[in-house]
Each structure stands twice: as C-alpha cells, then as structure tokens.
Amino acid sequence: MVSIVFAGVGGQGVITVAIMVGRAAVAEGKNALMTELHGMAQRGGRISVEVRIGDYKSAIIPTGSADALVAFEELEAVRNISKLKEGGIVLLNRRRIHPVSMTIRLQNYPEDIVEERLGRVNKVDVDADQVALNLGNKKVANTVMIGALYSTGILGINEESLVSAMKESLPEKHWAVNMQAFEEGKKLTGLSVANIA
C-alpha cells in the first residue's frame, strides 16, 4: 500500500506521469486509484494529483499519510507538504514558476518559504529539467521524474510494467529518448531499490 502526491503547475505534464504509474500498477493486477483536479486554468494553475496503490477506496490521501511527494515545482511542493507522512520522501524538481500575482507586485520568488519548509523534510533534489535538456528534449523531464521515483523503491511495481505503461502512452518515435530519460532519472536519487523495498 503506497500513497503518492504529484504536484506542479498546469502544463508540466503532472497528470501524464501519474497515469503511467497507475497504469503500471493496474497492469500488475493491483488496485490503483488516482484523483486529478482541473482548476479553471488550462495552463499555469496549480495541479495536484494523488495516486494510491493497494486496497484503498478513497483516492484522496488523508493529511499526513503520503509516502512520497513528487513535486515538479518548488512552491507547489510546499503547498502539498501537509499530505506527507512523517519520514516521507520529497522528490523535488528544481523548477520555479512565479505566481503572476507576485510578479505584478515585483516580488521575488518566495525562496525562503521553500527552503524553510522543505529543509525540515526528507528531500531529494532532482534536476529533471536540466537532465532532459542534456538529452536534447526538454519534454522528457517527466520521464526523468518517473525514473527517480522508481529508484526509491516505494512504488512496489516492476520496472517492466512501468516501461510498458510508458510505451503504451507514447508514440513509438519517442520511446528511445524516454527510456534514456528513465535511466538517467534512476541514477539521480542516489537511493537503491534494494534499500527501501
């Protein structure tokens, strides 16, 4: 049984990542639930997706009980931190997307809030955007995140299931670069599957 929050900003592909994880679990015959919220904005609004694998009925994760928070954006990591259980892990993509209401007031990105709140938890930085750029395709940042999440071992699903779920969701011409991104992601957390699972 595992509960994971995926958080980010509309347009970052947060939902796509969560679907792949859920599909992989279902392909293994597991129960998986996912809840996604679409706010009013098509792009740029906050997005959080919750995925639970195991014998659950509620897709919404109770406060303080998520095993992991996979954040695609720093402020959104902070916004969702209350869902994380004690000792839970945060995978943080170092990406900052400035809220427009702060920009209008010429405010800087609220770095101090991010550092202060995330400094207290078990956090692993994943520079997914940079890795993706190095691979020559910034769109595969999400797949880097999946790789990183997989390497923590908390998913409890096989690599093969994840890989085939990814392939089912992607046109064949994008398979190679996504597999590379997945492999790169796996290296990023410095954790080994055996340690945790």
Binding site: V26, M40, A41, R43, S58, P62, I104, N108, D129, S169
Partner: protein
Amino acid sequence: MVLEPLLGPEGRTEFLLGNEAVARGIYEAGVSVASTYPGTPSSEIGDVLYRTSAQMGIKFEYCTNEKVALEVAAAASAGGLRSFVFMKHVGLNVAMDSFVSLSGSGVKGGMVVLSADDPSMHSSQNEQDNRFLGKFAKVIVVEPSSPQELKDFILYAFDLSEEVGHPVLVRSVTRISHIRAPVRLGKAREKNSWGYRRNTSYVLMPENAYAAQASIADRIERAASSRFREAFDSSYGESPTLIITSGAAYNYIDEALEMLNVRARILKIGMSFPLNRERVMEEIGKAQRVVFVEEGGPFIEEQVLALCALNSIKKEFYGKMNGFVPTSYEMDVDRTAGFLSKIFGIEMDVKKDESIVPRREPVLCPGCPHRATYYVARMAMKQAGIRNPIAPTDIGCYTLGYYEPYQLGDFCLSMGSSVGSSSGFAMNSTEKVVSFIGDSTFFHAGIPALVNAYHNNHNFVLVIMDNSVTAMTGGQPTPETSPPFRRVDIESVVRGIGIKNVFVMDPYDLKNSLETFKKALRSDDLAVVISRRECALEADRKRSPADAKVFTINQDKCNQCYNCVKNFSCAAFYTEDGKVYIDGELCDGCSVCSEPLVCPFNAIEVKD
C-alpha cells in the same frame, strides 16, 4: 503505439478515468445516440466519444446547449433507440424545461441523463446537488461511487429505464468523474433498431399532461419494485450503528472508521430515488442509531426520516439536518473522521499546517488572445475617459479577466448572463456598460439576450471574444468548427439581428484593435466588438516545433518601467530583484508583448 483502451476487448482491466468509464459504459449498453454541451467535470466523456463514437456505432454530437442536447436524445429514445445525454450539474438547469416534461412523456428506448456535480466548486459557480432536481422532475436517480460503478450503473440504468419506460438520472461528482481506477471491460450489447410511432404522451398539451401525471407515479412505483433495484444497493458490517451513505461520500467511510478504530454497519444506497423502502426499513429496524453520510444535501436523509415518521420509528439520528454532518463542500477521509469522531464520542487530534503559502491564481495561458483583448479594452476605456465601467462577464477562460491587472469582470451568474445583465445595467446606470462573452457561450445562451438588447433599445458594448473553440473545458468544437460541420458565422448572426455597430478586430494587433475599440466605445447605440483570434493552445497544437519562437528581455534596453508586468501581465513574465525576465519554458512566442503598446522601449525581442 498509443493504445485506445476504451475499445479494448471484454474481460480486460484498464486504468480509466470515471468519464472514460462512462463512455465505455454507454458503448456496452448499446446506446445509439449521445449528446452534450461540454462542461467540467463531465467534459472528457465527450472528448472520448468525439474520438471513438464512429467505431462504437454511436451518433454523437456537441450541441449548442444542454437543453438542445437533451431534446436530441429524447427524440432518439422516442424512436426506440437507447440514448444518453450528459452535462455538468449547472447544465441540467439549462435543460430543466425539457427534463421535467420528459418524465411525463416517458421514454421508449432506454434514456439516461448524466449530471456531473461539482461539490467544493473546483470549476463551477455553485455546488448544487442535482439529485434534488431528479426527484423534483420525478426522474429515477442513481448514484455510483467509483469509475467501475459508473460503468455498471449505466448498464443497469438503461435496463431499468427501458423496462419501466422512464428516464434515469445518473449523478456523478468531480471525485468520481475525475478519479482513475481499474475498470473491467464488458461486452458491447446489440443496439435497438429505430421504430418511431406516434404517441399522445409525446405531446404534453393539458389533456395529455393530465393523464401523464398518473403514469409517472406508476412508473416510479414500478422502478421501486423492479428486479434491477438489487443491483444498486449493498450493505455489510455488524454493528448497532448504521451508516447510510451513497456516492463519493461512501469511499471515505471505511478508512475513517479504521482511523477511529470503531465499527459500523454500512448501507450503501445506489438508487436514491425511489428508495428501496423495505430494505431501508429492515436495516433501520436492526440499528440503534443511524448516521447519514452524503455529499451535497440531505437527499437520502430527508426521504428516510420521512419514512421513519410514517412508520413511527424512533432512533438516534445523526446527519445534516441536526448539524452533525456538514452540508457544504466535498467529503474526504479527514472530514469524515472528524464528524464521525464527534458522533462516536472519540477524541481526535487534528493536524494543522500553519504555514502560509503564496497563492497561485488561475491565469490566462501565455499567448492567450483574451489577454490582448483585455489589455486593449482597458487602454481604450482609459483614453475614452471611461473610469468606472460596469463589466459583466461570462463563463469561460476569459472569466479570469476578473483578476488583476485587468479587473474586467463585475457580474456573472451563469452561461450567457453577461448579455442579459448588460440590458439591466444599461437600463439603469449612467456608467458605460462593457461586457464580455466567449464564442461558445454566445451560441449557448447569448443570442436570445442580444436579441432582447437590440429590440428593447439598450445601449452597451458587447465584446465577443471569439477564439473558435470551447477552450476552458479542453478545446471542444463550437458551432464555428468546420469541417466536417457547417460553420455558423458570428458576425452574420449579430448583423442578422439588425445591429449596425459591429466591429471585428484581431487582438494580437494591438494598435488597430485600440482604434477599433475606441470607435465601439464612442458609438451611441448598442455595439458589438468581435475580437477574433484562435485560442493559443489550439494554435500550439497545429504549429510545427520548428516554427516555435521564444521572446526575451534585452536588459540593455529595458528601462524598468514595468508596464509589461503590471498592465499586460503575461504569465511568462517574472521579476527578480527588480529586473524583468521572460520564462522561456512558458513563453508561447505570440510576440504581442514586443509591440510598442506594451514595451515602449522595444526591449522585448525574439531570443535566438
């Protein structure tokens, strides 16, 4: 290969969105006709059908509004076909006129209406509980709890509807329609064949309507005792405490009870109107106390309490009507554990997160033509000396014009209300009325209101923000979409009413748009500005990556006047230590910010 899981073979289990399960469900149920007007949280049903309905053998169409959609489906059902119409909760208000009569007419082919309610208003103007509308219209109401049940209940609902000759309302909510879960695919049934025969009940003139009333009661009674009723309700657990629940609220109870370490017997109601009275009374008879846990209003609670009163049954009751269970917002495990703990008399420590996180308001996309329209509108009004415009707005992405810095959005009740309310404001106010509506919303409910404004001599400026797509719900077609459909031209519609002051502008061209807008403001009669430019997301989908451009700020030229961030305010701009930047990942390359009317110093340039 990207798979189409919805057309998979019987027996496969797929990870489906509730709305996708609905589409699969109607395919399995042998539906021939489906119709809708897009609305979140029901939109994806249409997205799927738009893609796959031909393969499913379903005639599917996007209608101009929910009332039309319901009538399209009702006619198909009168001809013996199974038909399905779906909408967001407030859409049922639009369809209500025909919906109420439908229960009088009855149906021939099974007919199911799905309403996706939105407790907590994630993307809506209210959280009305449409089970009450179902009962009000005397339509059978069923409420699934999960994507699998959405699919299953739709099958049972069609069978029931056809058996008793009565429409069924399926009530979903955001946390069912937008949940993903494993769904086991079943077999697709054969479809009914067309066989329309005249029937007096299809024409509800007073004489026929009088007779229909009696038959409604009869059909509801038959539904209450139908063999299908067993398919909807379930119960389990041993305890003197009975929890009567339904819909999404059900999903949170087991985990909440576990959290509190207490037990209860659960009666999960799937058909909440008409109730299976014998079963409910039997369960209540065995219980010491009864707790009602529903999302929305006390729908089942009121009916059960009425039954208990009639049968002189006294128990301890806990629900919304005596304040133990909250009446607003969606449920979850935390909330459910919270009120159950009080009912069970258990102390619970509530974890509170004190930190304040800066808000992230929803915003118009980078490159959105609405931003340019609002920017021009503000500037034109300022130059025309209009300080305090009254700006009714409407339902769509452009409602975001309400936020800073545009702040053009003063009044918005429902689809099309910008135009109707403009008549009311213009009739009474001395301030200039400038209102905003999108193309899809204009077709949906704006046209009759504009006819009213012209006919009754009201003077205001209506801006139709025409991006040729239903954007907020994910880019569905509109009456302007062509081919394969026939294009309805907004300008011809407006001119056809008789309105003379019609102005068309391309909002990306700020300079000319400003002049056009000022002309419209100066006209002393009803004026319509059609601000026409394709939705940025649609344009993105069509553009080849090679043509993508990104803009950047030339810091040597930037004078830090901040006009771009404070007044134009593209979501791709940001500032750090007083310097303005453009986030290259977000910039859509629309180039509007590089026009002198945004940056007077020509500091915004294409990045090479």
